[in-house]
């Protein structure tokens, strides 16, 4: 038997070249997998560093520094410009005299030591505190929205592919295309105006903010229920904003997989439809889409700034807008670095997840 086996066509050398690259003897796939992860992490750090620099210089390239902006506001109250500048300089934690390279160095060193410094416009608050107070709400609403939209989108997209060119497919395709074409802030407005004002399904005023007055944060039903109640509109907006895209890409992916030989062979093998749909069609159709979950997440983080303004949801969107308007450099930089890190981290997780799910990449 052994000789017969040896005679049979090419053993590992062609197909599985990757693991033996550095000739490591012991668990090669584990080693290389770690290596793969490491490469991804390094790349992610580079992206964060580049974005941090871009935000630093872009922020400062905007006309006017924090003191100009505040003084400008004070003069509208009838104060003279000089007086206003002095008051502004005294009340803000910003030294306009510090050279640019000095500010840059402080910023980079701060980042490296996880210290993003004090805010300029919110005296007494560190950047980290400010972000910590708002970011969880944004991540919570976007996270829940992404999970719901992706789950529903995958299911509906697959149903469309299985029934392509039938009524369900035609109807859902139109719905998906329309939803995909409406910008997310418009969806938010439509929800408030349509559902809240015309149809009176909910009270848009009571829904404002992240929690109802008097509700304390904590692990109890009241808090969680109230948080979800207030996050309901943003979550629904996010779901509508991306579900159309998910339906369409899942339909395309499933349609492609359905024409694969292994699906026909699985039918020929007499496998049950459910088994074929889940392990043969579904799993292979979802694989190429895993990375897109992170892209969706990134899109929503960008869109959150508008959506949160429209829905008066106290997430990071409003904070970012304030930071831009008042030229609160440290807060602006901190926010963008943290948001970027979130999106990059989501991409990283998607990449690693993909490498775990697809045996062809796992090497």
């Amino acid at each position: 038997m052994a000789t017969e086996i040896a005679a049979s066509p090419p053993p590992p050398d062609t197909g599985t070249a990757a693991p033996s690259r550095d000739g490591a003897p012991l668990p090669p796939h584990l080693r290389v997998w770690r290596h793969y992860a490491l490469v991804k992490v390094r790349k992610a750090l580079v992206v964060v560093f580049v974005v941090a620099n871009v935000t630093f210089f872009l922020g400062r390239a905007m006309p006017g520094d924090p003191i100009d902006v505040m003084a400008g506001r004070l003069t509208q109250g009838g104060m003279s410009l000089e007086e206003a500048r002095i008051i502004a300089a005294n009340s803000l934690a910003y030294d306009p005299g510090a050279p640019l390279w000095q500010q840059w160095w402080d910023f980079i060193v701060g980042l490296a030591t996880f210290d993003m410094g004090m805010t300029i416009n919110r005296p007494g608050f560190t950047v980290a505190d400010s972000i910590a107070a708002y970011l969880p709400w944004t991540l919570f609403s976007i996270g829940v929205g992404t999970v719901i939209a992706v789950t529903l989108g995958l299911g509906l997209g697959m149903a469309m592919a299985y029934r392509r060119n039938r009524v369900l497919d035609h109807v859902l395709s139109v719905v998906a295309s329309v939803l995909g074409a409406i910008p997310n802030y418009l969806i938010a407005m439509l929800l408030v105006v349509g559902g809240g004002m015309y149809l009176s399904w909910f009270d848009p005023i009571a829904l404002r903010g992240t929690l109802s007055p008097g509700v304390e944060a904590g692990f109890n039903a009241e808090f969680l229920g109230d948080a979800l109640y207030h996050a309901g509109l943003p979550i629904f907006t996010y779901v509508l904003a991306i579900i159309g895209t998910w339906m369409l890409i899942m339909k395309a992916s499933t349609t492609e997989v359905l024409s694969e030989d292994y699906v026909t062979v699985a039918r020929a093998r007499g496998l049950r439809d459910r088994r074929i749909a889940v392990s043969y069609v579904g799993r292979n159709a979802i694989l190429p889409l895993v990375a897109q979950i992170a892209i969706s997440f990134g899109t929503l983080v960008g869109g959150a700034i508008f959506v949160e303004q429209v829905l008066v949801y106290k997430g990071v969107g409003g904070l970012l807008l304030d930071a831009v308007n008042y030229r609160d450099y440290p807060l602006l930089q901190g926010l963008l670095v943290v948001l970027t890190t979130c999106v990059v981290a989501a991409n990283l997780v998607a990449d690693l997840l993909y490498s775990r799910l697809d045996p062809r990449i796992r090497k």
């Binding site: 086996i5 026909t264 062979v265 020929a268 093998r269 007499g270 392990s279």
Partner: protein
């Protein structure tokens, strides 16, 4: 479980009897193209039949149609596909219900596909494919995983693969030849009476082809399954088949024993196919090519579909469609038939060689 594949073929009735089968593809709301026209043949237990012809002649469509594996727009509007089942009853595959059809597939008739490179789900290991297959056809208590693994290993050994290496591998870790062998092992898993092979060695190098074909004919001796062998490689057909059917433009235009077909082809198309293969031994002969290609199925000529390319064609060939006509029947009941208006005439002239 009794194992019918080891029983000698005492019963003389055919295992598979295809009667006047049409296969069509819907191309629009009301339009359809007929890819296979009125094909009839019988396949007896243990026999193997090769279907030969150029690409686009309906061979693969016929193979898929036999197991009702046609794509969504395919249908079998006419004919009967009678199959003598393991329990002795005869069923028309066309009228099996969905669940019955599912149980029938692979346990009684399995298929090795043309695209065997992609026959395995890329995210599952080879063992999972065996497991899925056995589990789908289990009746009664589920068997233990280890038991199934052992049986799968045995099957892989039958096709000369190393189970220890193959069972835990993902498809992409195997070479084309290994995948093809693994698929054959998988096809034999449930002891089918019929194996349909659709160009099973097309994408493989010659040595691998050779090894697979040899193993396949050994296995057939051993397990006594019947085979429908779809190929455009006449050499393979000559080697593996007891009988050969030539297909052209969706019709079976000549059937006979392998010997009859290769030594006394009675249809000019079969003769041309044979002439286009260069001989391996003997003098240097320039193989004769057959100009043109098969007609489009949507616009078949009115008479004989082959007439436009046939150098023996007369006016009548373009007007009247020839039916498959039995030319002679041998003692064992196997007959030689051809669908050519001039077959007797040409044989007498010696035009279709003797």
């Amino acid at each position: 479980m009794t194992d019918p594949r080891t029983e000698p073929s005492a019963d003389p009735g055919p295992l598979l009897s295809v009667r006047g089968v049409d296969i069509a593809y819907r191309t629009g709301r009301r339009s359809r193209v007929t890819a296979v026209h009125g094909v009839s043949f019988d396949l007896h237990p243990g026999q193997s039949m090769a279907l030969v012809g150029e690409s686009g002649c309906g061979k693969t469509t016929l193979g898929l149609g036999l197991l009702r594996l046609l794509p969504r727009n395919g249908l079998v509007p006419a004919g009967e596909i009678l199959f003598r089942r393991k329990d002795g009853s005869t069923a028309d595959i066309r009228s099996l219900g969905a669940e019955e059809l599912r149980r029938f597939r692979w346990s009684e008739a399995a298929m090795v596909f043309q695209g065997a490179m992609n026959a395995f789900n890329p995210v599952l290991r080879i063992e999972d494919h065996f497991l899925d297959t056995f589990r789908a056809h289990e009746t009664g208590r589920p068997r233990r995983r280890a038991e199934i693994r052992e049986e799968s290993a045995h099957l892989l050994e039958m096709v000369r693969l190393d189970p220890a290496r193959v069972l835990d591998a993902h498809p992409h870790e195997l070479s084309g030849g290994m995948r093809q062998r693994a698929l054959i092992a998988l096809a034999l898993a449930l002891g089918p009476q019929l194996l349909i092979l659709d160009e099973p060695t097309t994408a493989l190098d010659l040595l691998t082809q050779r090894a697979i074909v040899e193993r396949l004919s050994e296995l057939r001796e051993e397990l006594r399954f019947s085979m429908v062998f779809i190929t455009h490689d006449l050499g393979l057909a000559a080697e593996l088949a007891d009988r050969v059917g030539t297909m052209y433009a969706g019709r079976l235009i000549e059937t006979g024993t392998t010997r009859d077909i290769f030594y006394r082809p009675r249809h000019p198309y079969t003769a041309a196919l044979i002439d286009s293969v260069p001989p391996v031994s003997g003098g240097l002969v320039v193989p004769e090519s057959l100009p043109g290609g098969p007609p489009g199925l949507a616009s078949l000529p009115p008479g004989c579909s082959f007439a436009p390319r046939c150098r023996h064609a007369r006016q009548v060939c373009g007007e009247r469609r020839p039916e498959l006509e039995v030319l002679h029947t041998r003692g064992d009941g196997l007959s030689h038939a051809a669908a050519c208006l001039r077959s007797r005439e040409l044989a007498a002239e010696g035009a279709t060689r003797d």
